[in-house]
């Protein structure tokens, strides 16, 4: 394991810490993404942060700020297009996604140093994470975890029974906005680690793996966070071992975890399906 030899390097230590933080955060939030069937929206959100990130790079402000503003813009655009009624949500999301992504590319192409950091924005650049990024990730993660814990009951209720939640006096639209904001914040947080395209992988795959093991939402979130963190460590180790892109190795490790989970579940249910019990 080359990663063990390299543990003395602060570069690898920071990358590992970032991967664990982002993986755990995405794994926990991912459970809510699955509950509310938001994977496509998450993908759109991750693409839409791209113009914001590019613009932030041009203006020299924080990447996180640019991503957050762009994510907010996408949420508004999808809501506006969706309210025209003639187009249903997935088309609205698709239109907003394509427009936002193209805007990012256009901004980038108008720059003289065209392809400089493009790949870094798109697929992440986890080995260049610095202490400031780590602090930012920890802070955002803390905010998200506190929000999730504080509104856990309301979020779960409205996901399973929107009408019941409304009857119980909760504002459905406010809870929707809360979830979208949490997902947006998570996507923005993971930009540095896995890039704008692959954050959807970390937000869906570990949570889906966790769902194969338990039906309790709380346990699912803990397990999803654990899977995400494990995928983060495994990805960094694989990246150090074979010298491949770190963010993508993390996403691939998450897919591997899901594949193992599904295989184990299939094997466990085999006797029952064959009629032995």
């Amino acid at each position: 394991m080359r990663v063990l030899d390299q543990l003395s390097s602060p570069l690898i230590r920071r990358a590992l810490l970032e991967a664990v933080l982002v993986g755990a955060l995405c794994g926990a939030v991912g459970v809510h993404v699955l509950l509310r069937r938001l994977p496509f929206f998450t993908l759109a959100l991750s693409h839409a942060t791209f113009p914001g990130v590019v613009l932030a790079g041009i203006l020299g402000v924080s990447v996180y700020l640019g991503g957050a503003v762009a994510a907010l813009g996408l949420v508004l655009a999808v809501a506006t297009i969706g309210s025209t009624r003639r187009l249903e949500a997935s088309t609205a999301t698709g239109v907003a996604l394509a427009g936002a992504f193209a805007l990012g590319v256009l901004l980038q192409s108008a720059q003289s140093s065209a392809t400089r950091n493009l790949a870094g924005f798109l697929v992440g650049d986890i080995l260049t994470v610095n202490a400031g990024d780590l602090a930012m990730t920890a802070l955002f993660g803390l905010v998200v975890v506190v929000a999730l814990a504080a509104f856990h009951k309301e979020l779960v209720l409205s996901a399973f029974d929107a009408i019941g939640a409304r009857a119980a006096g909760y504002s459905a639209s406010r809870l929707d906005v809360l979830v979208l904001a949490i997902v947006a914040l998570t996507v923005v947080t993971s930009i540095r680690a896995v890039g704008t395209i692959l954050s959807v992988a970390l937000l869906v795959t570990p949570a889906l793996a966790a769902r194969q093991w338990t039906t309790s939402i709380g346990r699912m979130m803990v397990l999803g966070a654990a899977f995400g963190a494990v995928a983060g460590v495994a990805g960094i180790a694989a990246s150090a071992q074979w010298d491949v892109a770190g963010g993508s190795a993390i996403a691939l490790a998450a897919s591997g975890l899901l594949a193992v989970t599904v295989a184990i579940q299939q094997a466990r249910s085999l006797p029952r399906r064959l009629g032995f019990t």
Binding site: L43, T84, V105, I197, L208
Partner: protein, 294 residues
């Protein structure tokens, strides 16, 4: 006006780019209506990402990128269709997992190469200005094939879109029909991705259909509007990027300018459609006599 709209296309490379855009627009415009009907925007976007490892493997192995994209495209269409049929796993979640797994596999493969960044960029954003005649021929071939299949299966596909239960009861194999649609979307992505990049392909697969839906509710007119809108925006986008890059010193990527033109066309159409609907909804007394009698 002449200078803005005709002059850019005097050069051979701009003519080739225009032909490629027009052929792709005709193809994607038609398919986008089916994408809209079947709510396949996510599937289309997923396919633009899942095709990536095929291109990456072909690139590393020194094989034809076209063949690599074709194999990965058809394979992922098969997997996507299968994944949306698994019970207990939400369609969207299955798509999200496939996107993550395939795309990251592609990035991992490409990242073993030294020219990593430039290759990735070219794939994502295309190089429409360097399209050659062979690529145009390939695109045209795919376009003809896709349109023929759509013509042959149109009735069944529309039935499946609007009333899956009846289609099933009438003995149509909906799995096969789903496979056909996903395969066709994959072919459009394969046709377009190398020339114009994933960004433009996903836009061409979603936005023209959305524009057409704002204008009409009937499938025939929707197809006409979608093809027209895609072709017109392709033409205007190319002209705009040429003008901006050459005469104003702002380098606008041609592919992304086309997408921005499409998005603007969508916004304009949506605004117009809203105005028209408000006008129609006004009580008859407040309308001018001609409108009231019409």
């Amino acid at each position: 006006m002449f200078r803005l709209l005709v002059e850019p296309f005097r050069d051979a490379y701009m003519q080739r780019a225009l032909v490629e855009i027009v052929v792709l627009s005709a193809l994607a415009g038609v398919v986008s209506v089916y994408v809209l009907l079947r709510r396949l925007a996510f599937v289309g976007d997923a396919l633009t990402h899942t095709i990536f490892p095929g291109i990456a493997v072909a690139f590393v192995a020194g094989q034809s990128l076209f063949v690599g994209a074709l194999v990965a495209g058809l394979l992922s269409a098969l997997l996507l269709t299968a994944a949306t049929r698994i019970r207990g796993i939400d369609h969207d979640a299955a798509l999200g997992v496939l996107v993550g797994a395939f795309f990251s596999l592609g990035v991992v493969i490409v990242s073993t190469q030294s020219s990593y960044t430039a290759d990735l960029t070219a794939l994502l954003f295309g190089r429409i200005l360097t399209v050659d005649t062979a690529e145009i021929v390939e695109t045209t071939g795919i376009a003809v094939g896709v349109l023929v299949v759509l013509g042959l299966t149109h009735k069944e596909l529309v039935l499946r879109a609007f009333d899956p239960v009846t289609a099933e009861a009438m003995g149509y194999r909906t799995l096969l029909l789903d496979l056909v649609v996903n395969g066709l979307v994959a072919l459009v992505v394969v046709a377009g991705v190398r020339a114009v990049g994933t960004v433009l392909v996903i836009a061409l697969l979603v936005v023209p259909g959305a524009i057409a839906r704002l204008v009409s509710e009937r499938i025939g007119p929707m197809i006409v509007v979608a093809v027209g809108a895609a072709g017109l925006c392709g033409y205007l986008g190319l002209a705009a990027s040429y003008e901006a890059s050459l005469n104003h010193g702002v380098r606008l990527g041609s592919g992304s300018t086309v997408v921005v033109a499409l998005t603007l066309a969508f916004v304009l159409t949506a605004a117009l459609a809203t105005l028209v609907r408000r006008w129609r909804r006004r009580p008859a007394a407040s309308r001018p006599a001609i409108a009231a009698s019409a």
